[in-house]
Symmetry: C2
Subunit: 148 residues, 2 copies
């Protein structure tokens, strides 16, 4: 899909603040609010925009820790794992990746016991490695519009 310059300006603003009004976006990019609404609608329909998310602080929300967990699935266990993992609501993101590990996940936990219980549930599916997140260096940076 072709995303033109104007749409990139809109996307850049929306990535920084998804709750901006169409009218406000229009003022900054020099379009009327119906024009902005139409462009956004089209980007939603084409799948350029997947959705609008609120970034909730996991610590403020009562979770003490976040972990990056990789899984190296046992033979024949990847598919069952992929079906099972959707049931675990602690999992914020989960990707299938290349390399020695097949899966990488970002998971939030109330405490260490919670983390321990989570890892225990995965032992039948594969070998796990857990990294605790110490701090955020970059969080959900907007995707830039062109070669950087």
């Amino acid at each position: 899909m072709k995303v033109d310059k104007l749409n990139w300006e809109i996307l850049t603003m929306l990535q920084q603040n998804a709750r901006l009004s169409n009218a406000e976006i229009g003022r900054k990019v020099g379009l009327s609010s119906p024009a902005v609404a139409e462009r956004i609608k089209k980007m939603e329909d084409l799948g350029v925009i997947n959705g609008y998310r609120t970034d909730v602080s996991y610590t403020a929300a009562g979770y003490q820790l976040k972990a990056i967990i990789t899984v190296r699935a046992f033979m024949g266990k990847l598919k069952p794992f992929l079906e099972k993992i959707r049931e675990f609501r602690e999992v914020v993101n989960c990707y299938r990746i290349t390399g020695n590990e097949n899966i990488i996940m970002e998971v939030v936990f109330h405490d260490q016991k919670h983390l321990e219980g989570f890892i225990d549930k995965l032992i039948t599916y594969g070998e796990t490695r857990t990294h605790i997140v110490l701090s955020n260096v970059i969080s959900n940076a907007p995707i830039p519009s062109r070669s950087v």
Copy 2:
């Protein structure tokens, strides 16, 4: 901070769609729109809500691949790395983590050459490992309100 049941309902809705109007949220949770606005404002001020992001498809936006890159920083190179990495706009997320690797990043690339050039820029800072993202199993799932 104490997030009560009503705020959790609001947060759950906002995590799924950040562009919902206060009026619509109010209708579903049984509050007036000024009351919803006030609660949201308070959660923003307290840092429960960090912001509102638009989820843009990196492929639709002209990026061909996404990679998970870990870095094991050389002695004394972690700090310089943390300062430098903010300049790279391809980096969508970057965390400091425990374990053998110090850093894990989620990075988007136009093509393999772009990825190659990126990795080259990191060699003075540490040892990198790159995993290409094959597919999304779970994407930005809302943080659940209680023990799961």
